[in-house]
Symmetry: C2
Subunit: 552 residues, 2 copies
């Protein structure tokens, strides 16, 4: 092959928050950056999670060399338990990232054929690619950005990051490496757009520690902290402050227990002997000596905090005087659930610290000034904003343009678009299959638009089932019509309506009989139309109407 092309193909993370996945292809070699899941949109009823469509990778499975992970968040690793079943390629990641992944794989009874742990600073050669791992700060420990040297030029992919000048573990972002890459020349930069709308700088994670201090100082009884289970640095700060104020720490919630165990094992969490206690031991100590770290900062219905708020937790009841710290911002879409949880906690007499802007939570993503610093360090020829709703990508693109980058060198791309680069040209060339694969229970991809459309209709006005038994020989009704409804009206108080509906169906059937209509499909369609029209007039509702004909 004379002149292989360098292609970058986002399979997820464009125009959406989640399911981040980027394909990098040079000739007959592919590597993939991240493999994340997305939580379902409001209109994806009953769906548990969403993963990227990897048809393109399956069509090229023989040349996929590796999946490279930037960090251990679900939106970067969460699709692997599903993807590995089809495409079990080597995986590269830092130790904590692989540790967290291991837990997720085990839960799904999947195992990876080959996992290669790396450290920030490492360089790895995979086919024609030389991949470098660059330390960055983020809301999970052991996060890296990637430099990917290719025969055409160098790609830098930031993963998720922020420029925390005073990180909790003291491990500052590797500014020097970014500067060095910028000096050597970077062809394409792909950078995190999540906070591209926010002016200024994202505050340091340490700010949360300061706020914890104040909360601990004021608390008279138990302290309960809800935060993201993967935020090891924040958990460390909560534990450090507990030590200072002579409190014991108990961990509650499956995912937090898992991450804490992995982080302890791998040395990402440091806890003095005797500080951690089991959740069953909390009543052995006075309330003033207890901290409980827990999940549920998003008001998730099944989480530990929500169960406590609803007085529905097996082990912990909220007591008046408890100080509850919700160390998180609601993810868009979760505002109402969080608000409801706070209300229930307050009703139980707890003190609740939750307000945005008070330092009880900081973001893990870079604000505009950090994004500008990144541009100035990397000085890329081409720029692809990634990880964000469309408006975030547009804002990020404008920011680069305002800094002087030519508009034609910036690509606001959609999932599946193939971006092709030479040393001095870049263009969106074509499109490959990309999209959402919906996971519902054990089913991966078996729920599509038709099933979702039905669920939406069922959710709005319910269903009426009309059952008719027909006599095959006589060609007339042998039993029924019977009407059964669910989710439509409260039947006991709507007997008249249901009786009238049955009469309407009878009339429709008689009309069919008199008109010589004997095709089942035609009879069903008649029943559906007549009944639908009648019910809409009476109720202004459009339930699903399902005629079923049995034959005897």
């Amino acid at each position: 092959m004379a002149n292989p092309k360098l292609q970058i193909i986002p399979l997820g993370g464009m125009g959406e928050i989640g399911k981040n996945m980027t394909v990098i292809r040079y000739g007959d070699d592919i590597i993939v950056v991240d493999c994340g899941l997305m939580f379902p949109e409001d209109d994806m009823l009953g769906i548990d999670l969403v993963i990227p469509d990897i048809s393109y990778l399956m069509d090229n499975k023989d040349i996929v060399r590796a999946i490279i992970l930037t960090h251990g968040h679900e939106d970067h690793i969460g699709a692997l338990p599903y993807v590995l079943k089809q495409l079990n390629v080597p995986i590269y990641g830092t130790r904590l990232t692989l540790g967290i992944l291991e837990g997720r794989l085990k839960e799904n009874n999947v195992s990876a054929n080959a996992k290669y742990p790396v450290n920030a600073g490492d360089q790895v050669t995979i086919g024609p690619f030389q991949v470098g791992f660059i330390r960055v700060s983020h809301s999970i420990a052991d996060s890296v950005a990637l430099s990917i040297k290719t025969p055409i030029g160098t790609i830098v992919h930031t993963g998720d990051f922020k420029f925390d000048q005073t990180p909790v573990d003291g491990k500052v972002t590797d500014f020097h490496r970014f500067a060095e890459l910028g000096d050597q020349g970077v062809l394409v930069l792909l950078a995190d757009s999540t906070n591209a709308e926010r002016p200024g700088y994202t505050p340091s994670e340490r700010l949360v520690g300061v706020t914890f201090e104040e909360a601990y100082r004021n608390a008279r009884e138990r302290i309960i902290i809800a935060t993201f289970s993967s935020n090891v640095h924040r958990i460390q700060q909560a534990i450090d402050t507990a030590c200072k104020y002579d409190r014991k720490v108990a961990i509650l919630g499956r995912s937090m227990v898992n991450v804490v165990n992995i982080a302890l094992e791998l040395g990402y969490l440091t806890v003095p002997e005797g500080v951690m206690i089991d959740i069953d031991e909390i009543n052995k100590y006075p309330a003033s000596r207890i901290v409980i770290m827990t999940t549920g900062s998003q008001g998730e219905p099944m989480s530990a905090l929500t169960r406590m708020a609803m007085s529905d937790h097996r082990k912990v009841d909220i007591m008046p005087g408890d100080t509850i710290i919700i160390s998180a911002s609601p993810i868009p879409g979760n505002e109402k659930m969080v608000s409801r949880t706070i209300d229930f906690l307050l009703r139980q007499g707890a003190e609740v610290i939750y307000e945005a802007g008070t330092g009880i939570h900081v973001s893990g993503h870079p604000s505009q000034e950090e994004l500008k610093l990144l541009q100035n360090l990397i000085r890329p020829k081409f720029f692809i904003p990634v990880h964000g709703e469309y408006r975030h990508l547009v804002k990020h693109a404008k920011l680069a343009q305002d800094m002087g980058m030519p508009r034609e060198n910036i690509f606001v791309a959609e999932n599946g678009q193939v971006l092709e680069f030479t040393a001095d040209k870049g263009a969106i060339m074509s499109k490959v299959t990309a999209g959402n694969i919906l996971v519902d229970g054990l089913g991966v991809g078996d729920v599509g638009n038709i099933v979702l459309r039905d669920r939406r209709q069922l959710s709005q006005d319910g269903i009426l089932i009309v059952v008719i038994t027909m006599d095959k020989q006589k060609g007339c009704v042998a039993a029924g019509p019977d009407i059964v409804s669910r989710g439509f009206v409260y039947v006991r108080e709507s007997e008249k309506l249901m009786d009238d509906a049955r009469d309407k169906v009878k009339q429709a059937l008689e009309k069919c009989e008199n008109g010589g209509i004997t095709e089942w499909a035609a009879i069903k369609s008649n029943v559906r139309d007549t009944l639908g029209k009648y019910l809409y007039e009476r109720t202004r509702r459009r339930p699903m109407i399902l005629p079923i004909i049995m034959e005897v």
Copy 2:
């Protein structure tokens, strides 16, 4: 009757945003402040709106003297079309409030027996109550607070308000009247808690005018402004700025057309001759001379702006170069819809101005410093925070307490609680019926917990209907079992699963027959359990299973 009691009973607006309604009773006389609706919570599937349960008023219908409206927002007047059908009592309100109400009543084919227009500054005697109307600023014109003199003492109810020092119409809040009432002595204050979490002052509505100026100056092509249809002052500012920049204004969206017409008729909007044009005329002018005012600032699926964004509007297509101003904040729960609308507008090449904190929208509710000023002006003996989620009420209560009010004089109440006051004592005494009445299409109250629970189950995993025709004489299966599913799996790709499911049902039926189980209820229950268990094992889903037995 020796000593009638003064009672205040909130029937809505406590622990929720919306359906504001407060009962004030002295002996055998009741007046009601506001009668609002609430938009449904996420889990109220298919519900159009929610109104207060007025059982208490119906039980006392002979002594309800009047409903008094503070302003014309839906959460203060929107339940009247339903409530007036049962309880057609006299209504008091300012002219714009009654004008907007009139439109809503007409749409619902309801008419009020008696409507009494009042002006700010008026005093009206209703039974033992002397009701005074006090001018306040809010995001709708002609808003008033109420002073209600009773034989026990004076009540002040703020309605919704803010202390705008530079209101668009120049009509400043009647601080003097508040001060005067405070001097004379106020027994109970009920005050708006919506923004009780926000420090500082809410900016003046004029700030939006300044932002409009800048946007108009920069816009090269059409300007499309989406805002709340009832915000007459904001519409006025958009029109004033249009005049200044020599643009014509067209109004789009049913509710905005309605409110603008009423406001024009009643003189709340002032528009020079020749500025307003019909939406059908916009193409007669160059794009640079057009402003379109429209609805849809919340991303509502059926609204004009959303339809334009989706290229689905009959009259207006978005064109590259359009400047779209979303002059609103997303109401909690609407964030994702607004975000999606913005993304679609951007994809069409429009410039979209939407960001919070840029002065493109200001709240109509008072922040903490305004609430403190209110307390200092009114100096009430007792305080009831109203209009807010529970956490807003708690925050508002704390704010009053921090200002020196004794804790026992502050009541964080729930809907239906009866607060009883003498000249020097207040207490929560008992509880009356209060709650949510759900409106779905033409049905008011016919959808309750059972129907909603069914809708929720249907929305999550769909439904399987199992139809069996039984031979009455022989007691055996004459036809079926047939299985029909909706919203469960895509049937064409799951034939094996559905076949297996049918076999399972057959086995269950045989077992019943062999075991001598002939009760239909028992057979159904057997089928439901067997099939449910099997499907959960295979799919980890729990669809609704509905066995139907026909008899021939």
